[in-house]
């Protein structure tokens, strides 16, 4: 619940308040839970709504667009349209060290968390629900009020950015 709240509100303290508030709403409204969704989805929906209205109240800014546009991989890494193989990798993905366990070292974990924090909120919400909380696509759409297509666009952008952050980190570590 805390992770889901923090997808929208910056500070941990505020996110904790949101979680507490959500529990109170859950306790108050439990008899109104109709069982159409799983209890978990219903509870996470309450957290998301509270976190969003809290973020709105604090920022008073226009909502961020769903999609920040642009390709998920820097266009300069592909061959130009007049090349023999246009759109093929010019600089392919840099290899990651194996085994995968090595990528769970504290340093990489920090890099991954930093990348999540840097995501636009709409992308962060989807990523947290899908990949950290393990909700399926239908439940994430219902919690966040998104269409299936928008959910996938946001998830793809978020995952791609995290991958890029890991790649940059691995590459920098090799150069040291």
């Amino acid at each position: 619940m805390l992770g889901v709240a923090r997808a929208r509100v910056e500070s941990r303290a505020v996110a904790e308040e949101v979680v507490q508030e959500a529990w109170l709403v859950v306790l108050r409204d439990l008899d109104r839970f109709d069982g159409r969704s799983s209890l978990r989805t219903w509870v996470l929906g309450i957290v998301v709504n509270l976190a969003r209205s809290r973020a709105r109240a604090e920022r008073r800014s226009v909502p961020l667009p769903l999609d920040d546009g642009g390709p998920v991989v820097d266009g300069a890494r592909f061959l130009p349209s007049d090349a023999r193989w246009p759109g093929h990798w010019a600089l392919g993905p840099l290899p990651w060290p194996g085994p995968e366990e090595a990528l769970l070292a504290a340093e990489t974990r920090e890099v991954i968390l930093g990348a999540i924090v840097a995501l636009p909120p709409a992308q962060r919400e989807v990523l947290v629900l899908r990949d950290l909380e393990g909700l399926d696509a239908a439940d994430a759409c219902s919690v966040l009020g998104l269409t299936d297509t928008n959910q996938r666009v946001l998830l793809h952008r978020a995952r791609s950015r995290v991958r890029t952050a890991i790649e940059q980190h691995v590459h920098q570590a090799e150069q040291r």
Binding site: V72, E100, D131, R152, R159
Partner: protein, 83 residues
């Protein structure tokens, strides 16, 4: 690297479709092109593998736990409620 397969779905396009592919949401024709491209392209195979690793790593990030103060407040709220 076979030129027609790259022309049908260049690497630049493939990287935009990775989530649709792993979520099994590509139309059959696109899926066939995606897989034909992968069979010919080591870089895109690496890219897909890194995206899958990214998803697994995200799933293994530790759950954030509540601070002791927040946990205490919640416990108190539950006590009041159950009275």
């Amino acid at each position: 690297m076979t030129q027609d397969i790259v022309a049908e779905m260049p690497c630049r396009e493939l990287v935009e479709l990775v989530t649709d592919y792993v979520e099994d949401r590509l139309a059959p024709l696109h899926r066939a092109r995606f897989e034909a491209h992968l069979a010919e392209c080591g870089e895109c195979t690496t890219y897909l593998d890194q995206m899958r690793q990214t998803i697994r790593l995200l799933g293994r990030l530790p759950e954030d736990s509540l601070s002791p103060e927040a946990a205490e407040t919640l416990t108190a709220a539950f006590r009041d409620w159950s009275r």
